[in-house]
Symmetry: C2
Subunit: 419 residues, 2 copies
């Protein structure tokens, strides 16, 4: 059993401590959306205070109906009974790991908590490389080979976790690739867990259309989502899951609700009141989503430009607020500065430049790679600066954002500059 704190959370706490000690850090290692609270949401929370009773484990029917409507408007007709609420989608992902037997296939790299959850559930992680073009899904051929290899050595791979759009690469698998991966899931009888918490943060939906595995293999896909990323409500802990229709879907939902009943009982009542409001998608919610996505896209693209100018290759970000650069093209130059793996890469960025990133090996990637995740949303600044950035036509020209980008560029180019 490990006593390590989830590495992203540990880094975040380290940054808080060092900043409290007066250090100036550029923190890019924590996936928090950093957007100001919408005043209407504070009113909704207050109005939900009277919900002090436990209520149904899956959540109140009215709140589940609102979430069902949300999915219905996204080509996924959904009944309220297919929805389960929880204090964060993380809790639902853990419940799925506890409820469904079998080993778990993960894209490599993937969000760090998937693997930790699999291990707490006493199962094995089987990492599968991602394609060159995007992350969040394994390369289909490698996926099939990984399933067969695992079975050949006596393991029982049963779950496949996808992230659409992806954390850490900030990219969205195109529909053709989603279909290929779903075909493997069908052929190999895998349950697909599609983490779509960044779904509403696709930067340009016309250019990068979204296809959910729940549209392709509806009977074997559970979708998870929540409000932490889209509305910057990480601290409110609101997650949702959508289960398949039919017998298998009901069994999955009942299994997850059983775990929920023994672990967290239900999503807090006042938060269920917020769910009812937000998932009905009134105009102010849609406007905030649009403004947030515009900002995320602009800053992620600017950081992408910074890392590529520094010599890294990097998939262009198309959703969410991450980039995942790979400094392999300048390995020789980094080696000249004593940097040969992702652990050292992260350490040196912190020590030399006060830039905090999440090294790739903490996301399941090969430690010999020269890759890291940078959460670009952490650059938005304090609450006033966030408002300014949301409203700006060209947010990356705002002084605080421009300064942070300059400091990052100095840090990254410093990696390859002979000292």
């Amino acid at each position: 059993m490990t006593t390590d704190l989830s590495p992203n959370l540990a880094l975040n706490q380290m940054v808080d401590r060092r900043r409290a000690d007066g250090e100036s850090l550029v923190h890019l290692a924590f996936g928090e959306a950093r957007l100001p609270l919408l005043p209407e949401l504070a009113r909704q929370l207050a109005a939900g205070a009277r919900r002090t009773a436990y209520g149904p484990v899956a959540g109140a029917e009215s709140a589940r109906a609102a979430v069902a409507g949300y999915f219905g408007r996204r080509r996924l007709p959904t009944d309220a009974d297919q929805i389960v609420l929880a204090p964060g989608s993380k809790a639902l992902l853990m419940a799925l790991q506890l409820a469904v037997p079998g080993d778990v296939l993960l894209p490599r790299p993937a969000w760090n908590s998937y693997a930790a959850q699999v291990r707490y559930a006493g199962k094995e992680v089987i990492g599968v490389p991602i394609p060159d073009a995007c992350g969040g899904v394994p390369e289909p051929g490698a996926l099939r080979r990984a399933v067969h290899a695992a079975r050949a050595r006596g393991r029982d791979p049963r779950l496949l976790v996808l992230t659409l759009p992806d954390n850490p690469t900030g990219t969205l698998a195109p529909p053709s690739l989603v279909r290929e991966v779903c075909a493997v899931a069908e052929a190999e009888d895998l349950l697909v867990v599609s983490d779509e918490i960044y779904r509403d943060l696709v930067h340009d939906p016309a250019a990068t259309p979204f296809l959910s595995p729940a549209e392709v293999v509806p009977d074997r896909t559970v979708v998870t989502s929540g409000l932490s990323k889209s509305l910057g409500l990480g601290g409110w802990r609101i997650g949702v899951a959508r289960f398949p229709e039919g017998d298998r879907g009901r069994w999955l939902r009942d299994s997850v609700v059983s775990v929920a009943g023994e672990v967290w009982s239900t999503l807090a009542g006042p938060m269920q009141h917020v769910v009812e409001h937000v998932y009905a998608e009134p105009p102010e919610i849609r406007e905030r989503l649009a403004a947030g996505t515009r900002l995320h896209g602009a800053v992620a693209r600017a950081v992408h430009d910074v890392v590529t100018r520094s010599g890294a290759r990097c998939r262009p970000p198309t959703g969410g607020f991450y980039v995942y650069p790979d400094f392999e093209p300048v390995r020789g130059l980094l080696a000249g500065n004593g940097i040969g793996d992702s652990a050292e890469l992260g350490r040196r960025l912190l020590d030399d430049s006060g830039v905090v990133v999440l090294p790739g090996h903490l996301l399941g990637d090969d430690v010999r790679g020269l890759r890291f995740k940078a959460a670009t949303s952490l650059l938005y600044g304090d609450e006033d600066q966030q408002r300014e950035a949301l409203a700006a036509d060209d947010p990356v020209r705002l002084p605080h954002l421009a300064a942070a980008l300059t400091r990052m560029e100095e840090a990254f180019t410093g990696l390859t500059t002979r000292r």
Copy 2:
């Protein structure tokens, strides 16, 4: 893997459905405190809305300091670093099961979720009978024998869960017994998890003094608590844990925080704001606790009178809002009505009288026993009636409570009346 909903939650949902269909039920199978929301708590929740960031996994320092102060006023000097917050103490209990290896000793009967959590964590439940005088702790001699017997067959018992005061028996183990049980824990190197969520609901603290295992074996006791029971805030999902000082305590806390980081991240920020207020124990909180405890005691004692008049034996309740009658003295009469075990006992109370109880076998007790748990707080009625009951000198004489007690007495005496 089971798909059964936690039995108390399942019964609660069944009752909601049948009541919605117009049926009149006396629901005694759900441990909800049923007290009106204090207006100040609604204000605190609203004031906490701005806490939208994830923040530290264990909870904000200010909130943990308030909880540390609460324990300090209860003979347990505590540093804020010893405290972890969570969405319910249930989540903390589950994290302990996942974080600490080894099989788990439970009093028999015990709250149903303990055993379910142990099984989800892939470990074994070892039930140990409770003494005649009270529940919540195993009989010390039986505990020692159970540990040795488990080791002899290759198991590795490491955790002992105690409930002080107890759910389901509504009794509090006296200090002498707590010391005896702690001596076994010390001798057998067991970690004690002391669930003290009913601690502030001891009916007469002068007559039944409270001793925490954390006072007796401080280095090996984790205390869990929360606001669901004491303030009727089950739907707000607020739990706390207090870890030992020193290296072992830090290891335990770090292990639980690691699980927390991978499962629920943190207690929702607005709820942490509530924690800060409540655990400082301002006058209105202390007054509500006193009024609630007076009501719980009066109604639990009245139900105790009802069940003993019906022929059951029953430990007199001294804390919380439960009674756990045993109809063994009238087994012959019940057998004459076709009732020979706790499953049938529960079924017949529902079918014949519309009285819903939680049969003992769902709490780990022997199904051949004629025992059940009744949560007496469910009798308080609607919100206006709850206010009336809190203010009343003699709440059991209020018409709605008197009527419920009469109906219960008819139901219980009906069990033994030849038909």
